[in-house]
Amino acid sequence: MGTQTMVIIAAVVVVLLLILYFIALYNGLVRKRNTVRNSWSQIDVQLKRRYDLIPNLVEVCKGYMKHEREVLENVIKARTQAINVTGGAAEHAKAENYLTQTLRSLFAVAENYPNLKANENMLALQEELTSTENRISYARQHYNDNVLSLNNKIEIFPSNVVANMFGFNKEEFFELEETAERLAPKVSFT
């Protein structure tokens, strides 16, 4: 085999390897983008879980808190509002935080009813609600982690070359915009 043939073969191999590498970069970007989309919809799954729990909570409380109608009604109203929100992440966040606040009021008032506090259903519900709030929080956190990972890949060389070629766009973080919303941190109802 002449030197020329060997050089040509080497060049072909190098080009092939480069192509494979770029394919790997592209596939990596696709996977990260899909992960971001999936984790966004997972947030909704956890939000729905909260919506489903609330009617139970209101039912259990009603029996004990006969004179606290307003507090209970606020919770129900907030829930309906949150379910019916249209619009972007900011709108959703506002409605969700309002719902959290009404729940907190409810639990604050429930402190005055020792029989209610000792009720087994109530205790179980408290744990479930704490868990749900955590799950929503973790789902958002996971979404943000995935967005960070995708955005890094889109900006860092050499994957940014592939990203630009195929039109991968950076995603937005899930952020709480106003200070008031930021003041509703992890909730603990126990």
């Binding site: 992960t35 984790s39 997972q42 956890q46 179980a124 744990e127 479930e128 704490t130 868990s131 955590n134 799950r135 973790y138 789902a139 956190q141 996971h142 995935n146 603990s188 126990t190």
Partner: protein, 305 residues
């Protein structure tokens, strides 16, 4: 260091250790093969033999399932009816990490401890003691579960199995060489191979010395990797919970608990979050033979995040 920095640092350090390990095995394979046959070709054959051993070991070890470990530890499987909070915490950590939910097992023992097992996240399980459930609050329990799930997420169980295999290969090779030398089978020392003289003798001596010392060195390496992966699991737990204090307090509580965990033994000690048979001494001291880093240092790193 932030938890991100600690995660990167720990991953790199353990990769380096693995690299050293593989180098060790390759070098030993070559050296022993050369010493026995007296030729460099024999050296390469030694490397192939070492790789072959590793593959056989891997195949055998990977067939052992998680049921064996759970049986040995006296753990029984539970579902959400046993403890809703435990099931919730495990699911919360699965959401935070984007991983499947592992099976949950419980060990009836008042000593607080936990471990994780499973070669990949799809087939994994976590075991906790009833003592852990009784003595930790929700945040602390979340920290511990986060640590265990990070072991699963980072494939630590598989990682440590591979290390164990490498240690076994080293031990076997060294054992073989020592027996072989006892029967005087080295071609190298007899000038049968190419090039006689003092270089040959030095290599022969080196082979013998290493055959004695390498298994010890391999075990020290194994413990070093184990400690590194524990630090990694701590940092990765914070990545999930964003709450280092929970795990820090949990570690302190578990370390200060004086009860011995009855179901644990030497074979399973490395799996637990805190070594269950080393006792209180492990708060401060560290030795190269410890599977876990000293707790004071773990807590310090957590609180510096």
């Amino acid at each position: 260091m932030t938890f991100e920095e600690q995660i990167t640092h720990n991953k790199r350090a353990s990769l380096l250790l693995i690299f050293i390990f593989v180098l060790l095995v390759t070098f030993l394979g070559f050296l022993f093969g050369y010493a026995i046959s007296g030729t460099p070709e024999g050296g390469f054959f030694g490397i192939i033999a070492a790789s072959f051993l590793a593959i056989i070991f891997s195949t055998i070890v990977f067939w052992a399932g998680k049921d064996m470990i759970m049986g040995v530890s006296g753990a029984h499987k539970v579902d959400r009816r046993f403890n809703a909070q435990l099931s919730n915490i495990v699911e919360e950590m699965a959401i935070a990490g984007g991983t499947p939910v592992p099976e949950i097992y419980v060990i009836e023992d008042s000593a607080p401890n936990a471990f994780a097992t499973g070669r990949n996240p799809q087939r994994s399980a976590i075991a906790v003691t009833t003592g852990l459930l009784d003595k930790l609050n929700r945040d602390e329990l979340t920290g511990v579960i986060g640590h265990e799930m990070s072991h699963i997420r980072n494939y630590d169980i598989r990682y440590m199995l591979l290390i164990g295999i490498l240690v076994g290969v080293v031990a076997l090779m060294c054992d073989f060489v020592l027996r072989y030398s006892w029967r005087g089978g080295f071609a190298l020392g007899r000038g049968r191979g190419r090039g006689a003289g003092s270089l040959q003798l030095v290599l022969l001596l080196l082979a013998l010395v290493l055959a004695i010392l390498a298994p010890l060195f391999a075990i020290i390496l194994q413990f070093a990797v184990s400690r590194r992966r524990e630090y990694l699991a701590d940092a990765a737990s914070v990545e999930l919970t964003r709450n280092p204090e929970g795990l820090a307090r949990a570690l302190e509580k578990i370390a200060n608990d004086r009860e011995p965990l009855e179901a644990a033994n030497r074979a399973t000690q490395h799996l637990y979050i805190i070594n269950p048979i080393k006792g209180l001494r492990q708060y401060e001291r560290s030795s190269i033979f410890d599977t876990h880093p000293p707790i004071r240092e773990r807590v310090r790193r957590l609180r510096s995040m």
